[in-house]
């Protein structure tokens, strides 16, 4: 298990290094000079040069890459071209919204999907299964921004249980913060839950057809005992894969929901930074997201090994 973990960790570091080079290269080749963008078309050549020097744009590309990386390692992400504030501060503020939102949505989606998927698999072909499958079909089909607007309409405008948008901040207490993230989290979670429930169901159905399930029944386990003791854990591998993918998506891909609920999250930050050619912010946020995705994959790999002993002994 230790060797497996070390190997995964090594692959995590290599992936990060490669990703950083790719991100830097891709963003650097994108057209547009931040300095001339900031100063407008009529800027003087010497003013431009001074700004470039100030922004660190006047050195070679290799030099800039290493400056960027070494800065990031000590938490210095550079200064935003447009806002002139430290990028690390900007990201940290947004991360405190996006990360809890993603975790909240993921928790909700897992809490909905697991029981729904297991229930449907246990009652394959029966009305219960058909109902759950119909609901998941709907959950995948409904666009989440429309669903989000419906949530606002019902729970914020009519029932007045929640605010229609904005983030109360964590300074006013954990529950207040969580409360203001609830509607966005539900809007994000439902389509994900629908997908996850379907994966759980089909994975479990495959396992239920396995020989060892029949062995378990021959030992005297009831259908339900066999399902819980031998089925669910074996069905988890594909489900974990999907959870990992969903977390990455929820962290970065919630831009529409952030827009609907007027949340100051990472998605909006990236959107604004791209519009303003604020390359250093874009680079840093993308790098952060890559870091998050790779770390989540690492954790998913560890979870695989925890679930399946065959992976532990393999290299």
């Amino acid at each position: 298990m230790l060797r497996y973990t070390l190997k995964r960790l090594l692959s995590l570091l290599v992936s990060l290094a490669v990703a950083s080079v790719v991100i830097f290269a891709v963003i650097e080749v994108a057209p547009g000079d931040p300095a001339s963008f900031m100063l407008g078309v009529n800027a003087q050549e010497d003013t431009l040069a001074a700004l470039r020097a100030e922004l660190g744009l006047d050195v070679s590309k290799t030099q800039r890459y290493f400056n960027w990386i070494s800065g990031m390692l000590v938490g210095d992400f550079g200064t935003s071209y447009t806002y002139r504030t430290p990028v690390s501060q900007m990201i940290a503020d947004r991360l405190w919204v996006s990360l809890p939102l993603a975790l909240y949505a993921l928790t909700l989606s897992t809490l909905i999907a697991f029981p729904a998927g297991i229930y449907a698999a246990a009652r394959r072909g029966k009305p219960g299964d058909l109902t759950v499958m119909g609901a998941t079909q709907l959950g995948i089909a409904v666009p989440n921004f429309w669903f989000a607007m419906m949530l606002v309409l019902i729970f914020a405008i009519n029932l007045r249980w929640f605010n229609a948008g904005g983030f109360a901040g964590w300074d006013n207490g954990f529950w207040t913060g969580l409360h203001s993230l609830t509607l966005p989290a539900i809007a994000l979670a439902l389509p994900q839950a629908a997908i996850l429930a379907r994966v759980m169901r089909s994975s479990l159905l495959d396992i239920l057809a396995e020989d060892f399930m029949r062995t378990a029944r021959a030992k005297g386990l009831t259908r339900r005992q066999a399902l819980w003791r031998h089925g669910v854990r074996n069905a988890l591998i594909p489900v974990l894969t999907i959870i990992g993918l969903q977390f990455s998506f929820l962290l970065a891909g919630s831009i529409i929901i952030e827009q609907v609920f007027y949340l100051p999250g990472l998605g909006r930050l990236v959107f604004q930074a791209i519009s303003a050619r604020d390359l250093i912010v874009v680079e840093s946020v993308v790098m952060l997201l890559v870091f998050a995705v790779i770390t989540v994959n690492f954790l998913v790999d560890l979870a695989y090994a925890a679930v399946d002993p065959r992976l532990r002994s393999r290299t």
Binding site: T215, N234, R310
Partner: protein, 532 residues
Amino acid sequence: MSLLQIQNLSLSIHGQPILKDVSLSIDPGQIVAVTGESGSGKSMTALAVMQLLPNGADATGTIELDGQELLDRPEAQMCALRGAAIGMVFQEPMTALNPVKTIGDQVMETILIHKAMPPARARARAQEVLERVGLPPDRFPLGRYPHELSGGQRQRVVIAMAIALRPKLLIADEPTTALDVTTQAQILDLLKDLVLEYGMGLLMITHDLAVVAEMANQITVMRHGEVIERGATQHLLQNMQHPYTRMLFEASDHQVNLPDPTSPQPLLEVTQVVREYRLPRTGLFDTPGSHRAVDGVSFTLNRGERLGLVGESGCGKSTLTRAILGLEEVQSGQILLDGQPVFSGHRPNLAVRRKMQVVFQDPYGSFNPRHRVARLITEPFHLLEVPPTGTERQERIAEMLTAVGLRPDDAGKYIHEFSGGQRQRIAIARALITRPELIVFDEAVSALDVSVRAQILDLLADLCAAYDLTYLFISHDLSVVRTITDRVLVMQSGKIVEQGETEQVFSNPQHPYTQTLIAAAPKLPDIHVETA
């Protein structure tokens, strides 16, 4: 009173009749074998006793265990009986165990689910039964996972789970079909001993008459869901009444007449072939070890000769076969077909490749279900420089289908329209269509019922006469190899330990391993079957 008494059991699944008036009985300490070909209903009979029938099953008649009717029992009571009063062992040990739980947990589960004893004692009992089935705790601790065990060892774990609570009745459904002959012999001995020791009744489902003859006190022969003959083993085998029983018995030991091989002229020359696989490193900085799957193998296959290759799983048969077919490069040594290397440089030599074809074991998995037979059997044409087209192609297809005993208009059908035996005929047609110099049969008849197997063996003998075939016949089934080959190679741990004329090797084996193999293979009693 009998331990298990089945009377007039009829079963239908979604209205489709599966069993008709099946009756049989088992006494304590008795071994009753139910035999028959696939689809005869033998496994369904076993599952009916367990009440583990598929959805939509409707059973009538009576199944009494110790005088208690099982058919109308509520599910909760059946759960209490399964595992405690009736144990069951299945065919496929590789998949019968949960891969994510330790063997100890799985054996203990049988005990704990019936609340038969507290966990500490259940643990001790699990250790005890695992030791009893030949997995002593010092070498096979309870914390082992199934993937760390071989097929035979896993089957022992399954047996341990089934007997942990000393059930009165043990049902074994093809318990040794997936195992090697030597492992099969050990498992059969274990089952026999357990029956004696515990006084259990054993209901043994098997298609293998030789196993039946060696094991059972009573035989029940089934066909199409009906019992057609039953009686005490010796008596039944000596007085087979039903023609089907006689046919089964004959087909199990089917002999064919091969034409004499032509004058010896080497076709395939294998010289000092070595194939190694790298093993995973044991430590971060260790040099990885290696496993020699094929270790210095040399032999020659003459034109027109039928050569057998036998050995147990993991002996290197498949690796050697892949190397001969040019599917895998070897580290050293040489494989020549017709004087030309199978591998040229690091790529398979196409000129040689088109002179070889192969027939695989699984008639269900080795065809693309979306293609018609005509396309399936002409697939090897892509190896040819100028593949036949138009009427020539049609004629070749018709000729091949006729040669393997099918009709030319079968070419327009899809593979699911054929039975397992017919599919294997199609596989042979596919192998023959380019008129290859060498055909490799890789366990080509192992998945077939005995009667179908006999027909395919006859077909091979006919084709040998018609097309002068040269083939390498790989099988774990010694009785088949004995009749269908002229010469045989015996392989153990990557080495050829014995080779010679088939009849010579079988009647007078020299190497201890060959002797073990032949001794372990179950044999049909020498009974002359009168052809009525």
